[in-house]
């Protein structure tokens, strides 16, 4: 179908104000936060911004009839090129569709449209003493739709798990425009084991199976108390060992974060007044719950951490907690500034390894950085083995780009070798699709078969999650 005809048909269907077709305007949709999108410009043929299930369905029918690739997109804050139309076609920007349809307090659930911003949802839920626990670093800008599509999590996943644990049901527009509801058409139940679990199939499917248009989320009572333990370890190996000892003491913190030496140095360089103590690693344990159990758990963690750490502090006073957490809050920013002539790039940034291999992973990444001559800063969610690596380069120098790409490839392979995954929470998108075979083996064939069953024409977000059969 000719582009001008497609634009016309979409305009007739949605109205002109929901179709973006000017060549300059389309360029803004050529990127997300990934390194790949920085090195390339993937300009879509047209962008639509539907605001109803009917509109999404109508667009899908047009795309299906004309074999036009469709890439659903939220805020475009992803780091995998997942919401970028690498094969051209149509980008469906769902971020303006941001209605919180219903907060069902009595049934502890909420119905939202895909464009709702994570922080805004939690702001509204707080009015009822509730919250949606997964807490990505991008809370103020990422959408719930994007979180569901990528099964996002963040720094509280160690206790609260990932987005999938909270999705009770979804309304999905299939590639042919048909609309289904998973988890029961009328259901407001929390438990439901009837039928195949299609909800879980769509959560984390990164837009390759259909378009998520409505989300039924379980919400939890917001804990009343919170406390922070900061522990400084002279030896890197003692950090994961301490984490294990805390678990063995019967405590499940709501967050356990690590800054390795590279991150400590980056923070101190960026904000000298924070003055993080020197060590091979700093751990931050966050506990939440009712105030008396918070107190008990915090003191217990302090006692356990003291066995290995050179310095430990426990705080529940808000100002002090904020001070202790400050280093973690700014580390992503600090990583971006370790080189005044460069910046961090989002690539190889999200591997996940077994708990017992965290120290080994961090050490190996450091050596790989040295091998390729790339500065790296490491931090992450040690509680679940999720390591965030920030390569820092001058992205406008081709030789540095090449080095970074080689480093990132080795980081991804390292993760699989260590018994981990190429991605813990950011997703696969286009940047990790080539590792699907390495990571999943013959299971990829099953994934391809599922994709084919739901999307026989292969129009949904092509080139993502795994390579098509034969490539």
């Amino acid at each position: 179908m000719e582009r001008s005809l497609l634009v016309k048909e979409l305009e007739n269907c949605l109205g002109k104000d929901k179709v973006i077709s000017d060549p300059v305007d389309l360029m803004y949709y050529s990127y997300d936060s990934s390194f790949l999108a920085r090195l390339n410009r993937f300009i879509p043929d047209v962008v639509v911004t539907p605001r109803s299930t009917e509109e999404v369905s109508a667009v899908m029918q047009i795309a299906y009839a004309n074999d036009i690739p469709v890439t659903p997109r939220g805020a475009g804050t992803g780091e995998t090129c997942g919401s970028v139309a690498i094969k051209g076609g149509l980008v469906m920007d769902l971020s303006p569709w941001d209605t919180i349809e219903e907060i069902d307090v009595a049934n502890m659930q909420v119905f939202v449209r895909p464009g709702v911003i994570h922080a805004k949802l939690n702001e509204r839920l707080a009015e009822y003493g509730l919250f949606f626990p997964p807490d990505p670093g991008s809370s103020i800008m990422c959408t719930i739709g994007g979180m569901v599509a990528n099964n996002a999590s963040g720094l509280r996943a160690v206790k609260y798990g990932c987005t999938e644990q909270y999705v009770l049901g979804l309304e999905v527009v299939l590639p042919n425009g048909e609309v289904i509801v998973t988890g029961g058409i009328q259901s407001r139940s929390i438990k439901n084991v009837s039928g195949l679990n299609l909800t879980k199939l769509f959560v984390g499917s990164e837009g390759i199976l259909g378009v998520i248009t409505k989300i039924r989320l379980r919400v939890w009572p917001k804990p009343k108390g919170r406390g922070i333990v900061m522990a400084v370890y002279p030896s890197l190996d003692d950090a994961p060992a301490s984490v294990l000892e805390v678990y063995q003491a019967g405590i499940l913190p709501s967050g356990i974060e690590i800054l390795d030496q590279s991150a400590i140095n980056a923070v101190n360089m960026y904000r000298p007044e924070i003055n993080l103590p020197q060590g091979e690693a700093i751990l931050l344990f966050e506990v939440d719950g009712n105030p008396s159990s918070v107190e008990w758990e915090g003191l217990k963690i302090k006692e356990i951490a003291s066995r290995r750490a050179s310095q430990v502090e426990w705080a529940t006073e808000p100002k002090r907690m904020a001070d202790l957490w400050e280093g973690r809050s700014v580390v992503a920013t600090a990583a971006a500034r370790v080189r005044p002539d460069g910046s961090r790039v989002f690539a190889g940034e999200d591997i996940s390894v077994p708990l017992a291999k965290v120290a080994e992973a961090l050490r190996s990444i450091r050596s790989l950085g040295q091998k390729h001559g790339v500065k790296v800063v490491n931090y992450g969610h040690i509680g679940d083995g999720n390591v965030h690596t920030a390569p820092v380069i001058d992205p406008e120098k081709p030789d540095e780009v090449e080095k970074a790409n080689r480093l990132v490839d080795e980081i991804h392979r390292l993760a699989v070798t260590l018994g981990g995954s190429t991605t813990g929470e950011h997703g696969v998108g286009a940047v990790r699709a080539m590792y699907a075979e390495l990571e999943h083996g013959p299971a990829v064939k099953v994934m391809q078969a599922i994709k084919k069953a739901l999307d026989p024409k292969g129009i949904m977000n092509p080139g993502k999650v795994f390579l098509p059969e034969g490539e």
Binding site: Y31, G76, P96, D98, I140
Partner: protein
């Protein structure tokens, strides 16, 4: 060359396109699509730099969709000065496609205080004709497409007398002289809100300041930067730096958030100008040296009026009670709260006045959509942003809205008038002046 300017060379590559800026941009908030995001502005400047796109009406319009409010740069993890990048790109566009009317306005009129004052006074006298006649006589109509009949209402009634015409060049301190300050009287306060200038001088002299109003000072350069006349802005910065440094004063004060932002180098780094002077073979070495010396001298001496009153002088202890108690709320000008991180001092002044019931409004630090000439060039968009601000002011229950920026004052006054709300807009110093009179 545009490509070689330090900000373009060094800052674009720092953008990781994380999208955090989407959460704070007032313009993005209205459209909600990526082609209005601040990271998109950085991307667009990059496309222009790399020659992927050339200057066109569309590109110029896209780069025009920025209030330069610093909301994005103040939250950016990589601290990218997005407005500075946009200013460079706009200057590049002007260079590629010079506009006669812009030239007239920004190179001639707005660099000559006398000419500007006369033109505004003329418009004031011919109030029934209003901005339309002023705009016609200045050639503004060509850059204010279609919006002028509506946009002219924003300015409201133009005062007949400028502040300068009502104030002496030197005003002695009342009582013992504590300090000697220069009052940088910006164009907006001088021509549109002279009563703020009168209050400023009265309060400063009351607090023991000898106040000098440098007569040959010119515009701070913000309107020029915003409108693609960067080289003119540079000349103005150099001119002002050299004048201010020779006054022999202890401090330089302004009630205008944009003026102090420029003088303090937040909006436009004097370092850039100085670097240019150093590297330019055309400029006389003495001018370069003098300007560097002047910029060094100026460091730490430029104060927003509220900061000077609270942190440097200390608020007067003998503040009287206002005759009638009033509910007051405060709007943070972007160039104060985001560019200079000044938040507490204006509130402290208001809270120190007996009879003021200070109520914080929701979203006090969100932009009002005024941003100098933006309201005139992007009327509809500006009004959408303003509407949210007006609702917030109304919900605060305030009878008085205080703010410290002439552009915000003009914009918000218009919004309140249009909404039929009887809420006065003042600078905190005007309430302080009132309270001092009561004493």
């Amino acid at each position: 060359m545009f490509k070689d300017t330090p900000v373009v060379r060094e800052q674009i590559k720092k953008c990781v396109r994380c999208g955090k800026c989407r959460s704070v941009c007032p313009i993005f908030n209205e459209y909600r699509t990526e082609n209005y995001s601040p990271r998109g502005q950085v991307f667009m400047v990059q496309m222009l730099r790399d020659g992927v796109l050339s200057v066109s009406n569309k590109v110029a319009a896209k780069l025009g969709d920025c209030l330069m409010c610093e909301s994005c740069s103040s939250i950016c993890p990589s601290a990218i000065p997005v407005p500075e990048l946009v200013a460079e790109a706009r200057a590049f566009i002007t260079e590629q496609r010079p506009s006669t009317s812009k030239k007239l306005i920004f190179e001639k009129l707005w660099t000559s205080p006398g000419l500007l004052r006369n033109s505004v006074a003329a418009a004031g006298l011919a109030d029934s004709l209003g901005l339309r006649s002023l705009a016609r006589s200045l050639g503004l109509t060509s850059i204010l497409p279609g919006d002028l009949p509506r946009a002219e209402k924003i300015l409201g009634k133009i005062p007949r007398r400028s502040a300068r015409s009502q104030l002496a060049a030197v005003m002695p301190a009342r009582g013992t002289r504590k300090t000697r300050v220069a009052y940088f009287l910006g164009c907006g306060t001088d021509l549109l809100q002279p009563e703020i200038a009168l209050a400023t001088v009265e309060v400063l002299t009351h607090c023991g300041c000898e106040v000098i109003i440098p007569q040959d000072i010119r515009c701070c350069g913000v309107p020029h930067l915003a409108n693609g006349a960067k080289t003119v802005a540079e000349k103005l910065v150099i001119h002002n730096l050299n004048i201010l440094s020779k006054l022999g004063v202890d401090a330089i004060i302004s009630d205008c958030a944009s003026c102090t932002s420029t003088l303090n180098g937040h909006l436009y780094r004097p370092a850039t100008v100085i670097d240019k002077l150093k590297n330019s073979s055309n400029s006389a070495p003495t001018l370069a040296e003098k300007t560097i010396e002047a910029a060094n001298w100026l460091k730490g001496k430029v104060f927003d009026l509220t900061v000077f009153l609270v942190d440097e002088l200390g608020l007067p202890t003998e503040i009287g009670r206002l005759m009638n108690s009033v509910v007051v709320t405060y709007h943070d000008p972007c160039h104060l709260v985001k560019a200079q991180k000044i938040k507490n001092q204006p509130r402290k002044i208001l809270q120190s006045i007996p009879g003021v019931d200070f109520q914080e409004m929701v979203g006090a630090d969100t932009c009002c959509g005024g941003s100098g000439t933006f309201g005139l060039t992007h009327y509809d968009l500006s009004m959408k942003i303003l509407k949210r601000k007006i609702e917030s002011i109304q919900n605060s229950g305030a009878e008085i809205l205080a703010t410290s920026c002439p552009s915000c004052t003009t914009q918000i006054s218009y919004g309140l008038r249009e909404a039929g709300l009887n809420i006065k807009v003042i600078h905190p110093v005007q309430l302080l002046q009132k309270a001092l009179i009561q004493h």
